[in-house]
């Protein structure tokens, strides 16, 4: 069997990207909370060693939340990320594992130390002196930051593989152009999440308001790194590919809106933290802290959405398109077809009245279903159901020119026509009968459009943009 052939699952009205997005956002939020929680714990334990009142009580309370949230759901969503990535993009995660498995193994060493140190603190912390507690918590914190360090290199490589593209050197890929801004940005986010969660926990403690206020003032110092986030964001934007930058800053309304949401929510939290909490020393209630955390979750969600979307049309830049087809395979599929080597049959083939529509549905499954459903999220019928037949054919055949963030269509003219007919049939309400479209003149025209579009993605072909200029 072809080692690139995988069964494709249907997630109903949700597109596959939404599935990994939902799991990913939750995991990133919890993982960053775990790292920031480590910062908070280490800092407050240091304060406890200096005799600052109520800090030990806070630590024992905060650590329980950290264990229950981060050690359980955080760790399990980490496993879920791997399994979900297999569900939505086996070739992508496969390539990442092939290239970086020893880096991932190093990250596992850090994770193991993090878990062991954390559980030791959970089990014996109450019976340890401050110095030993501080050492355990510092170990936990360094190990959890180590996990972020190693995973960050792999994730940022997807968008900016850097010099890895030239020779496949793992270290060139790991320390890629967006490695440092991404790492520092995530560290600042982690510190923010840890501080906000700490403020929420302080509000649950059975101490008087003045004591709570004093504790809040201290843990709020971990909000200071937020001041660097705008600069780190600009740095990140400066090093990502120009087409990705253009895409998220106006090229796509949806992506631009999500970027604005992430930046706006972060700005609101930052302004409140720096001006209200740190400068004016306002008291932060549990409700306000929870609201700020919810805002931070929204910022994380929007930010991760933008980070994922900025890679389009790739999942690994210049190597693998969003639909798990490599640039090199497009030319072959243009010749041989995209579904001829797929051993997995169409499960609902009986639903379609003609073999052409069956072919269309099969092509959609192989080439489109990573980001589109037929009539659910990002539905093809919603996007192209109102187009004329020739408009459909032209836009599909010249896909990467229709939208620069789309990969080139990877099939012959017959597959373009099959997809066009399928969308038209679905838009017509899926009638019992449907004419077969096999006019040689139509297919010849589609072939001309395919040839004009070429097999390269749009950003790779600056001449394509020059062609349309007067």
């Amino acid at each position: 069997m072809d080692p690139t052939a995988y069964p494709v699952n249907d997630f109903g009205p949700a597109m596959r990207g939404m599935v990994i997005g939902a799991v990913g956002i939750l995991h990133v939020f919890l993982a960053q909370f775990a790292i920031g929680g480590g910062f908070v714990l280490t800092y407050v334990q240091w304060l406890a060693g200096r005799g600052v009142p109520d800090t030990r009580r806070f630590l024992d309370s905060f650590f329980k939340y950290l264990v229950l949230i981060s050690f359980v759901t955080g760790a399990m969503t980490g496993v879920a990320m791997w399994l979900t990535t297999i569900q939505v993009g086996p070739r992508t995660i496969g390539l990442m594992v092939d290239e970086f498995h020893w880096i991932w193994a190093v990250e596992w060493c850090c994770f193991t130390v993090e878990i062991v140190a954390g559980y030791m603190f959970l089990r014996f912390g109450a019976r340890l002196p401050d110095s030993a507690r501080l050492k355990l918590l510092a170990t936990y914190s360094v190990a959890s930051f180590g996990s972020l360090f190693w995973v960050n290199g792999i994730l940022s490589w997807q968008l900016t593989p850097g010099a890895w593209i030239g020779g496949g050197d793992v270290w060139a890929g790991f320390f890629n152009p967006s490695f440092w801004p991404s790492l520092l940005y995530r560290a600042a986010v982690s510190s923010t999440l840890g501080a906000l969660a700490a403020i929420a926990v302080v509000n649950t403690m059975d101490i008087d308001r003045a004591a709570r206020h004093a504790l809040i003032a201290r843990v709020s110092r971990l909000l200071v790194p937020m001041a660097a986030m705008p600069l780190l964001g600009v740095w990140f934007m400066a090093v990502i590919p120009a087409d990705s930058r253009a895409w998220i800053t106006g090229g796509s309304v949806a992506m631009s809106m999500f970027l604005a949401m992430a930046a706006g929510a972060s700005l609101l939290i930052g302004a409140y933290a720096l001006v209200g909490i740190l400068w004016r020393r306002l008291y932060v209630s549990g409700a306000t802290a929870a609201l700020l955390l919810a805002l931070a979750f929204g910022a994380t969600a929007a930010g991760e959405f933008v980070r994922e979307g900025a890679r389009k049309p790739y999942t690994i830049r210049q190597v693998l398109f969003s639909n798990a087809i490599t640039p090199g395979e497009v030319a072959r599929m243009r010749r041989d077809g995209s579904v001829t080597g797929d051993p997995y049959p169409l499960r609902d083939a009986a639903r379609y009245p003609t073999p052409q529509l069956v072919l269309g549905a099969h092509v959609v499954r192989v080439q489109c279903s990573a980001c589109h459903t037929m009539s659910g999220a990002n539905g093809l019928v919603h996007l192209g159901g109102g187009w004329t037949p020739d408009q459909l054919r032209l836009n599909i055949a010249k896909l990467q020119r229709t939208k620069a963030f789309m990969p080139p269509f990877a099939g012959p003219a017959t597959e373009v026509e099959a997809v066009a007919q399928l969308i038209a049939w679905e838009a017509a309400g899926a009638p019992d009968t449907w004419p077969v479209s096999d006019d040689p003149a139509v297919l010849a025209q589609i072939q001309r459009w395919l040839d004009e579009a070429g097999t390269q993605p749009a950003p790779e072909r600056p001449e394509a943009r020059r062609e349309v200029r007067p």
Partner: protein
Amino acid sequence: MTSSYVILLVLTFAAHKLLVGFVLGAAAWATVRALRGGDDPVAYASRDWLPFALGAAITAGVAPLLLIQVLYQHRVYTATLLLSHRFMAIVPALIAGFYLLYLAKTERVAAWPRLRRAAVTGTALAAFLFVAWTWIEEHTLAAASPEVWVAHYRDQALVHRDVTIAQRLVVWLGLAAAAFATGAGWLARGVSERDRRGLARVGLAGLVVAAAGAALLASGDPDDVPAVGMPYLVVAAVGLVAAAAGFVMWHAGVARARALATTGVVVLYVAVSALREARRVHRIEWRPTLEGAQGFPLFLAFVVIAVVVIVWCARLVSRNVR
């Protein structure tokens, strides 16, 4: 180079399964104890250590999860995709089981009536058994032929039916009982003679069940143990005998018998894991792309660092704990 991956896979998988075995056995003991009413030091230690043991089992399981992706990528991914939503259900099952284990430790639950207490650990146990079944199912489906995969996909099957799944589960559950008996023997404090004998009997019964499951598994396929697997079979037999002797002597109250049983169980786990891998390697094709992967020396350095830091943490705690 490829052999390094296999050796690492065997060792990390054995460590993972040892911890999983303890979790299954401890959850079962705690459940049965709760059903009978009252408490005992073994049940208390089980509840006390279960969350940590599960966390350690999951952490240890990440390593073999990574390594099977390297070694058998296409097969593992295909099986994961074919089992689809059913396979993904292991994540919420584990999260639910994890929280139930923490719940079982609380004083509030300790004051509940016996049926409700048993329901807490019993539900967690059911979740873990589901996860165990699903992973074995995935392993079996990954080793199946492409024709089986295509039929599974075409039929939209949620379950992969193979008689060896139950047989494998019997082997691992038997070993789980042995792992739990030795683990609980070390962790529980103030164990009565009756409970000590009970643990030894559980361990011994587990070995019998595991051996019976292995015999069933082998009888179903005359080609079951390839020549390359014979040395591991011999080592497994040695481990089995040592563990059985250890449990018998522990039952009789012989000093240091528990150490012998523990050693035998550990040897048995490693040998069975190696045998399992030898069968897989014998039956399916290798991936040719493992040469030249960068980062192995760094990984080895981090293994050393991790071991040193963990030992240092343990010493820090043991020297300072009040």
